[in-house]
């Protein structure tokens, strides 16, 4: 591994930085060489992408804070409108200089933003240094106004200041590129951590009571189980949960625990704190019912029938209604054959929309006794829609014969029909 070297920064800082970002040295050095020295103009925009938990945000943040580069760090998910985003940047910029200006900024358009941005930079001692504007989760920018993304990409040119915009995203640049064309940023890829990397990262943080070698071996085992399925964050958690009890034991002792943890906590069947309590009490996770254990939904009598009728209406073609639901239909032998054939194909196709009248007609034929078309029945249909068991298709006009779809699975219907 090459040591980080850069003439602009003190060697101590660089060494410290290197220890903080294991396995990402090459990316960091690339970034450093792009950044250049503090007062040098850098590339106008840099686009960094990579899969979840490949250290994009962390590397950027550590890099900027350790080297004490002036920067603004914004998470785009948090700023759900362009105004919030722009104002957030300006507020952080004001805070950057340390001069407490609490006057509320109002910034509705990008034009204002450029003006205010220039002002903000002018009032501070940042003119001779590159300002880094990091936009995390940059894929959100695509959903804002069309001019936001292109403008950020050439902010250096628009403001005529020493600024570099860094976009962080999980998706590739090709999905960003607007139709109208734009300034192409410098793209950079952060590859996934390999298993060796993970081992290195995780073993950095060993608890003091165990030796580093022992802990590394333990992590090795852990990775063997979880590497295929889980993300870095989850591994952190597993370490925490299983650690206190298990490290002294052999692999065979650990394995069942880990498997249980994987089945339950990873799928969020039970919460991590519940798991911890269980571990402390030494209980079995079987005592706690997971989320998916409560699948049964109790429904009122007619709601059940409505749901069943909706299911039938969704998965049976209209022309079979007469055969299935009328008393004197004839041709029974053929029906059975047809039914089987159609069922498989219809389940692959998914639910089809059906009008309200058909639903009611099927309901009347599957319920034994007479059903009065009271308001209660109709309100039940609506409440099934709010419970997401049915969904309304094309909500244009209530009078125009509303159409519904049944969204529940065959298993659910089977459970209800029992």
């Amino acid at each position: 591994m090459p040591n980080l070297e850069h003439p602009a920064y003190p060697a101590d800082d660089l060494l410290h930085l290197e220890s903080l970002v294991p396995c990402r040295e090459s990316q960091v050095s690339t970034l450093l060489s792009i950044f250049g020295e503090r007062q040098q103009f850098s590339f106008p925009s840099i686009f960094i992408y990579g899969h979840t938990s490949s250290g994009k945000t962390y590397v950027m943040q550590t890099l900027l804070t350790t080297l004490q580069l002036p920067h603004v760090f914004v998470n785009c998910v948090e700023c759900f409108t362009s105004r919030l985003l722009l104002e957030e940047i300006l507020i952080q910029l004001q805070g950057c200089s340390g001069t407490e200006q609490t006057s509320p900024v109002r910034c509705d358009t990008l034009n204002d933003f450029v003006r205010l941005f220039k002002q903000a930079l002018a009032t501070q001692e940042l003119q001779d240094e590159t300002l880094y504007l990091v936009l995390d989760r940059a894929e959100q920018l695509r959903e804002m106004e069309a001019n936001i993304l292109p403008a950020f990409l050439r902010l250096q040119e628009l403001t005529d200041r020493n600024v570099t915009v860094v976009l962080l995203s999980e998706i590739v640049w090709e999905l960003f590129r607007p139709n109208t064309g734009c300034f192409e940023p410098f793209t950079m890829y952060f590859p996934d951590y390999s298993i060796g990397h993970l081992q290195k990262i995780l073993s950095q943080n060993h608890p003091p009571e165990y030796s580093a070698d022992f802990y590394a071996a333990y992590i090795n085992i852990l990775l063997g189980v979880f590497y295929m399925v889980s993300s870095l964050e989850f591994l952190w958690f597993c370490l925490a949960a299983a650690n206190e009890r298990d490290t002294r034991k052999l692999w065979k002792n650990i394995e069942p625990h880990l498997k249980k943890a994987m089945q339950t906590v990873y799928l969020r069947e039970i919460s991590s704190s519940q798991w911890e309590r269980l571990q402390q009490d030494g209980g079995e996770p079987g005592q706690l019912k997971g989320l998916s254990a409560h699948t049964h939904v109790e429904l009122p009598y007619y709601s059940k029938f409505l749901l069943i009728a909706a299911y039938l209406a969704s998965y049976n073609p209209v022309r079979t209604d007469k055969r299935f639901f009328l008393k004197h239909h004839g041709k029974i032998r053929k029906t059975n054959f047809m039914k089987k054939h159609e069922k498989t194909s219809n389940h692959l196709l998914g639910p089809k929309p059906f009008p309200l009248d058909r639903l009611l007609a099927i309901l009347y034929s599957i319920v034994d006794n007479r059903v009065a078309p009271t308001a209660n029945i109709f309100s039940q249909i609506t409440s099934l829609v709010t419970l997401q068991l049915l969904s309304m298709v094309g909500q244009n006009d209530q009078l125009d014969g509303p159409r519904y779809k049944c969204t529940v699975s065959l298993d659910f219907i089977r459970a209800i029909a029992r």
Partner: protein, 676 residues
Amino acid sequence: MLVFSPSLKPVVQINSLCVCLQQIQEDLNKQLLDNLVSFLSRSHSDFQEKTTKWTCRMKFREIPTAALILGVNVTDHDLTFRGLSDVLQDSITPYVALLEAKDCPGIKNLMQKLMGQLMNCDIEVDSLEDEDCVQVSQNRIRCSMPSLVSWYENVTKKTDSETPSKKRNSSSRHWQSPPVVVIFKDMESFTTKVLQDFIVISSQHIHELPLVLIFGIATSPMIIHRLLPHSVSSLLCIELFQSLSCKEHLSTIVDKLLLTSQFPFKLGEKVLQVLINIFLYHDFSVQNFIKGFQLCIVEHFYSQPLSVLCCHLVDLKKRVYSLSHDQCENIRRLPSFRRYVEKQESGKQIALLTNDNFLKEETEKLLEDLHVYHENYVSILRCLHVFTSSLPKYPLGKQIRELHCACLENQVWETEEYESSLQLARMLNKTDLVSMLQQCVEILMSSSGKEFDKTVEKLKEFLTQFQNLEASQERDVSVSSQKELQKKTDLYHLQKTLLELKESRRSKKLTKFEMLRFEVVDYIDTLVRKYLVPADTRTLHEIVYFNAATVLRGHLNAAPRTALHTALNNPHWYLKNQALKCDGGGISNKAPDICIVYKLHLECGRLINLVDWLEAFSTVVMASEEPNADAASSDQVDDIIHARFIRAVSELELLGFIKPSKQKTDHVARLTWGGC
């Protein structure tokens, strides 16, 4: 109609009902709320202590979340949430926000709503200072998480620094930095995007803002997996809480409200059946059940003139003696009273029918009897329920309300189900039987009825007999085995004895235990026959029992389609105009235009030709006009009639019966089928 006399009775009764209900609700929800409160107080203990434990760092971004499964009775949820937020505000935190999906179509609206609720609650606490108002209005411009965080810091700092006496008690109830609780009332209706964004955003700020989420889930917790992808749900630390099922809730309500002597007002069988059917078939809503019950009270006191007498025993005497002559006549007119009179000897009959004072005395006695009857009824019903609820397949129903309905409906001992449950009861084993008898003894001891001393004694006697049985049974077994040994020598004899044994088992031979069991069941049977007579055979039951099921059904089971059809098809039903009275399918031209148009359109198919329709309409309207006018407009439809027709058709369109069709230009499409 009689004016509600001395006090406004229904109001009093409904009020006492409400108090009772509230108590019940609180008791029912107590368990759930306690669990939730302990969860909440646990959830941010790390935040409180500012610990930096090694394990804590691992899950530092997880938001504590309670998934609250409430069942499909959405109408009841409001009450639960209100109770929950009250409890939280009392004991844990002043910062509780309730969010509904319909207010939050986007993340922006959600944040606005959330901040509005949180900051308003702060103003209430802080006694409206001008400064705060300005601050809030400024903040409202920027609805983002950072401003919420800064608000939270301000607020908590303020409560920390402030130590005047006024603030003291409120801050001592809560902690230094109380959690902010956000309740999503209807998880299912929220859009995926809004929830995801909110969770991701708030997980970024979980260090500065101790947030706790509560999801109100109506269906099943699987909805969390359906709404949230794994990357988002891994930001949550979800614990599951389940509220009481609505059926159990109803059982408790029925048990506490109907099967007591606390309220003089009672529900008749049909009415109860209507309410329970609405509950089970339609909505599972306990709130609606209670509303229906309240409606029954109002309806009873409104429509039954003698409901003055429906009161507690203490007031009864006064009320009976203040009855006017007309009211006495009303009593005499009651069917159950008439039946009673017919059974008396002639001298008493005359006195009852002519002498008001004698009638009053008799009435008081009868009403007291009725009261006693009800008390006894409830106790014996509970005893019977102890037996029937443990039988296989539950021939008389598992719940006490089913048994109650069966007993109110008719003489329960004549039904097949009762017969079969007695059969089954005769096959119970000893331990069950003994424990049931003990339960019955407890029930009867605790009841306020005075007549049960003997019954209790009798039951206790049975119990001691069962205990004695154990000793004697052992002896029996040894004797029989000895006998067997003696006769084993001879094959012929053995065969004979076996045959005899078989014979005897079939015909008569019963062990002592079986005898006793028969005795017990028979005794229970006599109790049932004595005490569980249906209420409507009792004299003066009309005063206390509300039985107008059809009225109630009319109020609660709205049938808009049917009503509309009746109104249009048979306007006489609503308008009560003799001229409109028509028999059969004929169309009267006196009916309103829309009725004529409606009737004509019923005869058409899917598509209706407007020209033909107009023809038919004008023919009907002109039917009784003079022949000369008919001749004048034979080829050309009168403009006025044309206008009337168009208006009627557009009214029909407004009501949703037809709509313009794109298939054919001069046609309209029908949107309904059949004659409803």
